[in-house]
Symmetry: C2
Subunit: 241 residues, 2 copies
């Protein structure tokens, strides 16, 4: 085989790209290392030059996800015009948007993130994302406590609950999407909307706010994104079976 040398950073990104596509479509366990290196067009040796193990590849992928996610909210964090409640709402809306768009993308590929075999991948992503988001959330909650907007305690704990709510959408979607038919998508959308509304109220109360203070995006937003993405799926490179 001809030897192809690329810039290490590019190679690494390519590897992550192909791993992402394969892990998302087949699941971390089912997608074999050989699949990944075949898709990336490199040798075993080359792969292990970049990552010490398959596990490390997963970890790196999760970190990249988290980094992208954090980059997506840095404007919100930096915006001095936002009060704690406003900032919290903006953060929640953003993270929800990202989650739904990811879901829509996976769905468009007729394979979904929300499958049991993707548990590991999803958990790693969420772990990394949480590690990034946690400080931001904690700080926001603490501010809200200080200026009297929120009436609660244990900012770290509350931040964890907020992120739990985020993670929980995984299982909600997973259950509804389980059998994968079109009708299920409608069910999933309904369930998601309802669940989001519940989380809003739950957060209101945990934070000691009047019901209706927390607003995670407009009603109907889920359906809009999902259906739009479905008819116009973005392209992710997928290896042949």
């Amino acid at each position: 085989m001809p030897r192809i040398v690329k810039h290490p950073e590019l190679r690494r990104e390519e590897l992550l790209d192909h791993a992402q596509a394969l892990f998302l479509t087949h699941g971390y366990d089912k997608a074999s290392l050989n699949d990944v290196i075949a898709a990336a067009g490199i040798s075993k040796g080359a792969f292990y030059h970049y990552f010490p193990s398959k596990e490390a590849l997963l970890e790196a992928l999760a970190e990249r996800f988290a980094k992208q996610a954090l980059a997506g909210v840095e404007d919100i964090v930096a915006d001095p015009a936002l009060d704690p409640l406003g900032r919290l709402n903006a953060l929640l809306a953003k993270s929800r948007q990202a989650k739904i768009e990811t879901a829509a993308e996976a769905w468009a590929l007729f394979e979904t993130l929300f499958r049991p075999e993707n548990l590991v991948l999803f958990h790693r992503i969420n772990l990394a994302a949480s590690a990034s988001f946690s400080p931001v959330l904690v700080e926001t909650i603490r501010q809200g406590l200080e200026d009297g907007t929120f009436r609660t305690f244990d900012p770290e704990g509350v931040a964890d609950i907020v992120m739990q709510f985020g993670m929980a959408t995984h299982d909600v979607i997973a259950k509804a999407f389980a059998s994968g038919s079109d009708a299920d998508m409608e069910i999933a959308i309904e369930a998601l909307e309802k669940r989001v509304r519940l989380y809003e109220t739950a957060l209101d109360r945990i934070l000691g706010l009047p019901d209706g203070s927390i607003r995670i995006g407009e009603p109907g937003y889920v359906r809009a994104v999902m259906t739009a993405r479905r008819s116009n799926p973005s392209v992710i490179a997928v290896a042949p079976p």
Copy 2:
């Protein structure tokens, strides 16, 4: 090798017992099928006579856990003297007790359930347990809504949140126990107690109750169980390395 024939149900239970011990100590992925059948003292063929795959073994194990868990609370469910709040409190205390005892047991074996490699196992158990518990919780919440004890909505959603809180203890413990030293256990205990208190208040507010209504066991209970178990570990058969 001499051929040993046993009653199928006994064999199956034995298989589950050994699988449980190995999965708990080494993790689902790391514990190989060969380890399991070696521990159980049977052949490959015999194993695949009972389970169609390793995955199925995991599933069966999760179901057994769930069944045991449900059996443990049926007296609470059946008790007509309990009002919704009392029943909810009893259910929560019981499930927490079970979780902590499991944790203590795993800890006593110097290997803990709360490790990344046990994610899959833990998730499966929780999934099965949730499926069992959900109806009970939903019914309890619904009763509380009807008789005016609770001031909330979407019983299914709230029940899910309750179970989320249960699952979340996994990650809380996992983080604190990560490096596995003795000091970490103290930290883990503190974190757990604090977190339990947060969940109590969060549930109070979600259910529209005055703070302090929900009581998930006595303070200090976690430490008591953990330390007691540690000095007097129950025996689980473990295969040689």
